[in-house]
C-alpha cells in the first residue's frame, strides 16, 4: 500500500534546488536517495519531514496532503551530524523524555521504563541517560537519535546521511539496526546517502538525484545496468568504498 507520495516537488531558493520530483514510498519499503554533494538530498529530507515548505508541488501521506501539525508523529527525521542533533546543555534522559511528554503525555517515571527498553533495543545501556552529548561518541549519539525517532513510532523515517560521519564498523552496525527495525516494526525509510555501497544493502528502490532532478529510479539491479555517467561514477565510488 502506498504510504507517501511526492508530486512535482520543487524547491527554489536563489536557484532551483529540487526540480519537479515525483516518487512514492510504500509501506515497509526502504527507498534510497543517492547523489553527489549539493544535488539536493538534504533539501529533499527537509521538505519530506516538513521542516521546510516546497515552492510548488504536493506531498501526500496515505493519499491525502500531509498535515505536518497533526501528522508530526508519523514522519520522523534523523540528521547527519549526530552531535548537532542534541542540545549541548541537555542530558540524554531529558532529550529522550521530550517525545513521550509531548506526544504521549507520559509522566517521567512511566517514560523512564519505556526509555530503558528502547535504549536496549538500539544497543545502549541506561548509564548514558545522565550524560551530556559531548560525553558520548558519534556512533552512540546516532543510536540515541534513532531511539528518539523510534519512541514516536513513526510510519516513515527519513535518515539524512546518518552514517556519513561514522567509521565503517559503526556504519554497518547502524544499518543492521535499521534493518532490524524495518523487519520488526514494518516502517518505511527514506534513506539518503552519497554512498551507494550502503544503499544497496537494504534499499528496495533507489532514486539517483543530480542537480535537483531524479535521473534514475529503480531497484539496485536496474541501476547496475544504467548507462548514465553520474550513476556509473556513483557505482565506481561504491565499489572503491566496499
Amino acid at each position: 500500500m502506498r504510504l507517501f507520495e511526492a508530486k512535482n516537488l520543487t524547491k527554489k531558493y536563489d536557484k532551483t534546488v529540487l526540480d519537479h520530483l515525483d516518487f512514492s514510498i510504500n509501506e515497509g519499503e526502504v527507498v534510497g536517495v543517492i547523489g553527489v554533494s549539493g544535488c539536493g538530498k538534504s533539501t529533499l529530507a527537509r521538505l519530506v519531514s516538513g521542516i521546510e515548505k516546497p515552492s510548488s508541488g504536493s506531498l501526500l501521506y496515505q493519499g491525502k496532503p500531509v498535515d505536518f501539525k497533526k501528522g508530526r508523529k508519523d514522519i520522523q527525521l534523523i540528521l547527519q551530524n549526530s552531535i548537532e542533533s542534541f542540545s549541548p546543555r541537555m542530558k540524554i534522559r531529558v532529550f529522550l523524555y521530550e517525545p513521550y511528554h509531548y506526544f504521549y503525555h507520559l509522566h517521567k517515571n512511566e517514560a523512564l521504563d519505556c526509555i530503558k527498553k528502547i535504549l536496549k533495543q538500539v544497543g545502549m545501556d541506561e548509564s548514558c541517560l545522565e550524560k551530556y552529548p559531548h560525553e558520548l561518541s558519534g556512533g552512540q549519539l546516532q543510536r540515541i537519535a534513532i531511539a528518539r525517532a523510534l519512541i514516536i513510532h513513526p510510519r516513515l523515517l527519513i535518515c539524512d546521511e546518518i552514517t556519513s560521519s561514522l567509521d565503517h564498523v559503526v556504519q554497518r552496525e547502524i544499518i543492521e539496526l535499521l534493518k532490524k527495525f524495518v523487519e520488526k516494526n514494518h516502517i518505511s525509510i527514506l534513506f539518503i546517502s552519497h554512498d551507494l555501497s550502503l544503499v544497496h544493502e537494504f534499499c528496495h528502490q533507489v532514486l539517483v538525484l543530480n542537480n535537483g532532478k531524479i535521473i534514475e529510479k529503480g531497484t539496485i539491479q536496474q541501476l547496475y545496468k544504467s548507462e548514465n555517467e553520474v550513476v556509473q561514477n556513483l557505482l565506481k565510488a561504491a565499489y572503491l568504498n566496499s
Binding site: 540528521l79 549541548p88 546543555r89 551530556y132 559531548h134
Partner: protein
Amino acid sequence: MKRKLKIEIGLAVLLLLIALFGSFLAPYDPLKVNYDFSLQPPGLLHIFGTDKLGRDVLSRILCGAKTSFGLTFLLLFLIVFIGMIIGLIAGLSNDKAESFFNNIINGLLAFPDTIFTITIVGIVGAGLFNTVFALALIWWTKYARLTLALVKQEKKKSYLVISKMSGVPPLQRIIRYLLPNILSQILVTAFLDIGNMMISLAGLSFLGLASQPPQPEWGAMLYESKQFMQVAPWMMFFPGLVLFICVLIFNLLSEDIRDYLDPKHYEEKL
C-alpha cells in the same frame, strides 16, 4: 566548582552586602558637615580621611556603594532585558524584520555613546535615573546585536529541528533549547560590563551629570576631589581604589563564569 570561582563569588556577594547594608556600617553620617575636620588625612578617627566639608570619606564610600551598585544593576538589567527581547524577535523573524531591527541597531550604534548620553541628559535634565535612562537608550543595542548574532548561529543547528520533530512547541523551543544555549555568552558579557558600567556611571558623575551633591556616589566623589588632588589625595585615592577593586572582581568573575557555563566543563561540576 573551582576554588578561585568560589572566592570570586564570595567577594562579589560581600560587595553586594556592603552595598546593601553600607549605611549601617558607616561610622559617621555621610552628609554631616563639620568644618573643624575639613581635609583631615587618614587617621584613627577617620580611616580614609575627610573631604573639604569635613565629611568622613569611608562613610561616604560605604553609603555611596548602594547608589553605585544599584544604578549599575538597574542599568544592566534594563539593557540586557531590552536587548535580548529585541535580539530574539529580530533573530526569529523573517529577513525583512531582521533587516529593520538591524538598521535601527546600526543607526544607534553610529552615535558616540557618551555624546548621546550627555545630549539626552541635557534635554531631560541631570540626575541619576535620567542618566541611567539615557545610557539604557543606547546601550541595549549591544545586547540586541549579540543576541541576534547568537540566535542566527544557533538557528542553523540541528537540535532545534530535532526538538520540533519531538513535538516541542515553539515557545518551549525558545525557552528550553535556544535560550540556555545563548544565555551563557550574554551573561558573561553582562558580567564583564558591570565594570564598564560602574566606570561610565562614575565618569558621568565625574562630569556632574549623574549623581548630584550632597548624595554620596563614587564617581561624584571623584569629581568633587579633583580640585583637592594636590592637597588631599586621599579624597581621590580611596573612592578610586574601591572602584578599581569592584571592577577587577567582576571582570575576574566573568571570565571564570564563562568557563563554568561551558558545557564541556559539566563533568567537572558534577
